[in-house]
Structure formats: C-alpha cells, structure tokens
Amino acid sequence: MTTPRPPHDPSPEDVPGTAPAPGGAPPGHGAGPPGYGSGPPARVPLRLSPKVLLIDPVRMLPSLLLPLLGVLFVGGFSARSYGWAALGVVGTVVFAVVRWATFTYEIFGDRLETKRSLISRSVRTIPLERIRGVDVSTPPLHRLLGLAVLKIDTGASGGDEEAGLDGVTLAEAERLKAVLLRRTDGAARPVPGAVAAEAGRPVERPIIRVPRRWLLYGPLSGAYLLTPFALAGGAVGLAFQWGDDLGFGQDTAWYVGEWLWEHPYLLLAVAVLLVLAMPVLGGVMYAVFNWDFVLKRRDGYLVAERGLINRRSVSLESARVRGYEIVDGLVERWAGVVRVWAIVTGLGDSQTRGQLLPDVPRPVAAQVTAEAVGPYRAALRRHPPVARNRRLFRAVFPWAVTALAAAAGVWASGTMLWWILLVVSLLLAAAGIPLGLDRYASLGHGYDGARMAVRSGSLRRSQAVIERRAVVGWRLRQTWFQRRAGVLTLIAGVGAGKGGYDAIDVSQAQAATFPAEVTPEWLTPFLRPPADNPPAGEVPGARS
C-alpha cells in the first residue's frame, strides 16, 4: 500500500490545481496552457477541487447510515457504540480525503493522464486526439458548491473505460473542455496565438433555445411515464429493507399487506391515483431533465445543454455526426411534435447523450436538424402494397390465434379466465388493424443526393436520416415468407448509432435500385441484368 501524502499539509504544487487561474487560463495552442506546462520539466499534476471532499462523505452517507444505525441499536446507545459510529464517520471522511489526495490528472503533451494510487496504482492515458466528446454535468450537490463532473468520451466501450473527473470547479471544467476539445480540432486547424487568447471563450452560436412552454409537450412523449410506479416500488422496497434493520420484522409488513388486501377499494384507489399521477409526474420528470434545453454550435462541436437540477452539457464532434433520428410516438404525432437524436460514430450511451432535441414541433425540428447536421429534402418512397398485407397480418395474426385458442378454451371448459382471454385477444386483434395500416403508412425510404432516410414503426415511429458516406455496406434479407410475398428487408450498414438501419419490406426492384442510387459505384458491377431481379441471383460468382 502506498502511503498517501498527508492531506493536511498541501504542498505548494497543489495550489495551481486547486485554484485555477482567474479567467480560466486561456489555452494556448500546441504548447498547452501556459504555466500548466506540457513540457517535461514542469509536469504539474492537477487535483480535483478540494470542495469535492464536502460531497464525497455525504454521498457515502446513505450506504453508511444503516450499518451506523445497526451499531447504535445493537450497542444500545452506549458511549462505546457512539465511539464506533464516530469512528465510522471519521473513517469515511479520511477515506474521501485520501482518495482525493491520491487522484491526479494532467494534460501532458498530447495526452491526458489520470492517476489513482490509493491501494493499487493505476494510470490511464488518453490520447487527446481520441477524445470524441466531453460531457459536463452538475448534480445538485456539485452545483451548490460550484463543481462539475466531467466525463470524457473516447469511443471506448462505455462503462469503466471512460475517464471521468468527478468534482472540478466549473471554471476548470470549462477550461478542460476547451483544451480537450481544441486539441482534437487543433491538429487540423492551428489557431494563431492572437485568436487563442480570445478562444478561452470559444465562438458560440446558439442553434435553438427551446422555450419553456414546449415543456408541456413532455407528457406526450411517454418518457418517464412509469415514474410513479417506480417511486412507489422504491418506497415499498425501502420500507421492507429498513423495516428489517429497524426491528419491526417481516411479520408487520405481511400484516400491513394483508390489511391492504382486505380493503381492495383502498388498493384500487391507490392504483387509480398512480395511473392519474403518470402523466403529471412523467411531465414533471421530463421538465426537470429537459429544462432550458439549448443546442449550440461551438468550434466544430454540437453542444446540448439541459436539465434543471442536474444541468448537463454534452459536446458532440460535428465531424462524427453521421445523421439523425427523428422519433415520434402515436400521441406525439397527433400533436405534431418530434424528438431528435443524433447518430454519432463511437458514442457510448447514445440514448442519453445523443439527444439533439426534446419534444418540439415538427417544422422546428426540421429547421434545427437542417442547420445542425444537414437537411433532408426528398419525399419518402412508399413500399409496395404487399407490405401492407404483411404489416396487417403481423399485427392481427398472433392475437387472432390467441383468440382462437381462447375460444377453444371457452368451448372446452367455459371458465371465466378463458372468456377474459378471448375478449382481450379479440380487442387486441381489432386494434391490430389500424396499427398494421399505420405501420404500413409509416414505412418509407428515400434519398436526396446527400442523405438517405428510412422510416418505420407506429407506436414509436422513427425516421433515420443518414449521410451517404456513412453507409459502410448493404445487407438484404429475405425470410421465407418475404420470398413468397416478393419483398425484402434492406439494411444499410452504418458505422454509427445502431449499426444498421432497416427499410422493411421493399419490393425487389426497390431493393436493387435504392442501393444503386445511393452508392452507385459499389453496386453497378452487380447490376448486369438490369434492375428486374438482380438480388435473386444471376451473379456469376465463384462457388465455395
């Protein structure tokens, strides 16, 4: 075990790290920020802000609380047990201090190194050119103290692979962000020193500032709708857990449960209340997460900021944005609002990070995406009518089969359960008709010369718009049923986002012409028998 430097007498070299130069020490290009020395003689590792010491113990408290209480209860509130409890608290604080003291980071030459030498020593080196985005967020406690959490996206496979600096001052976070992102950019486009001074505040151009009243669209999105249930479930779980620890054992809980069971109306009322709370709480959560959504462009990066309590700012490198995905649910379509995600290569956790827009009216979304990424200007082509039959069949058939089985059950036994199943599956089968029709209506694909688009889905309709150069290959798939119907699924392989975007049930002619249209140079060698049915063979290939 390495003995950490005694935390209580900070050696002089700690000072620059703890107090970033006022004005955020404008990062000079190439040579690194002046005074922070990227040259070998003056390597000054930086530390996280000491204020994080105030946060760490608080954060550990919940996990520590139960053992502490346990000690107090078991020990019976004697001086001795108080002593143990105090020891526990002190231990936490000391641990936090030691952890803080042994974690350093520095930007050295063209890489960022983070060192953690608590028990085992680990050094992580990240070449600056590999940094694809920086994600700054400020959870409530951090915000109170003017700190931020910096996460560095390197395109590695998420989780532990990502470097994070938990607890730097806001100014330092800004500085780091500027330095980290500038380097990735600067290699291609050196910034003269004169500009660099000003570049401490990089050129920002807001693309959209989502007005607050659009937060009202939130409940339509269906996001966070299950919050009330999650909250209730969490509360019950917590009650069980704490109840165990605090002494009133499971018997009490069972008793409460039984009592509730005997008052079904109360249960029903609670359920109704929860359901009623769904849109309200969902809307509130949505508002909290998407408060003051701002999308702006800064130096070749798209920066999205959002959140009320935990303000979060995500930077996506524009050069890596390959397209976007426009998503709208059933209700949202009725209201004419859409959400937008970016399709970015090598973005971990793209569900939360890739969001370009929360619910906004469709024309606004079109305008914003056109400005931020690029417009898509062609109409979508419809898929052949046989695709409609297939959509209908798939939406109705399973429920029809269930209904038949249930009818057989009714005929055989006549119990209530079968009746319920019969009615439910009949209803679902009936609902499948409009659903299938709508699914067909949303199928489409198109190409406008620079970007291709595919659309599918009904309950969650999504239209992906992808740059032509992002397509890395085509895959056609035809199941036995599709072969009977003469349609195929065309999958555009894209080295970003989900990896592949499907155009479902295109006709054979479309399957041949569409790839040829988007990437003519790849497909022409295979189109010798023109367009009528090329995928189905006629390719003089070498046999295996």
Partner: protein
C-alpha cells in the same frame, strides 16, 4: 457442401438424443399434466422429431450450397447465403476494417475455412463459410491489402 451435411447431421443427432431423453423422462414420471396418450407411448416424440426434421436434413445442405455465393468485383465483396432466410451482403472493400480467417473443427477436417469480413457496423459485416482454405488465405490477403490502399476514414 459436405460441411453443411456434417453440421446438419450433428445437429440432427443432438436433437434426436435430446428428444429421446425428454420422452424417457416424461414417460417415466407420472405427472398429471402429461396427456394419457403421450404417457402411454412416449416414443412418439422422437419419431415426430425425425419425421419433421428429416426433410430439412436432406434438403438444407443442398439448398445452402446452391444459394451460397461470393464474389469480389470492382472492390466490392458480395456474399449470398441462407436457407429459409436468405441474405445478400455488399461490402465495399474500402470500408473493411478487419479480415479474419477462421477454421472450425469440421472445417479443419475438410480443409476449408471461414472468412469473416468486418466493418464498423454489424449490419455491414459478413462471413463467407466453407471456402477452400488456400482460397480463403489468398482472398484474406488480397482484401487486407486492397482495404489498406483504399482506406477512407468516413466511419
């Protein structure tokens, strides 16, 4: 083709063995939910399995062999494969990231190899099975070189 025949045979044997075990087990127990006719004649299950899978066993290798194609033309790799579900894959050589050559057990026995072509996207990656291993090695070499030359970093 012998590869698929072999694989199909092995799968068949496993399936048969599994169904025999199940029938043995279920027939031996006297669970209430097992229908009477089945408990009386537990050998029906393996027979049914054989009847259902035999045509597939007979047809699959031939169909697969006749469907299976690959071609390298104009710097695009094209591969076709499938039995019930058919797949066509077009991968331009310029977007290939790695080319792997692998040999499984049976392939080793028959002197064959599988060529795996990977791109940045799973949907754009493909595997060509059952190549003669010398052809596979040559093709892998060729593709790797060509990919190097054509490399463009759009992904």
């Amino acid at each position: 083709m012998r590869l698929w025949l072999l694989e199909a045979l092995v799968a068949f044997v496993f399936l048969l063995g599994g169904s025999l075990l199940v029938s043995e087990w279920v027939g031996g127990s006297d669970w209430s939910w097992v229908p009477d006719w089945f408990a009386r004649d537990p050998w029906l299950l393996p027979v049914a399995v054989v009847v259902v899978t035999l045509p597939f066993l007979a047809a699959e290798p031939f169909v697969r062999y006749s469907v299976h194609r690959w071609e390298l033309a104009g710097d695009v790799v094209y591969a076709r494969s499938g039995f019930l579900t058919r797949e066509w894959v077009f991968v331009p050589v310029s977007r290939i990231q790695t080319v792997d050559k692998g040999q499984g057990w049976f392939e080793r026995m028959l002197g064959l190899a599988t060529l795996e072509i990977r791109t940045a996207s799973h949907a754009g990656s493909s595997a060509i099975k059952g190549l003669d291993h010398r052809v596979a090695a040559a093709l892998a070499e060729q593709l790797a070189h060509r990919a190097e030359e054509l490399r463009d970093d759009a992904t």
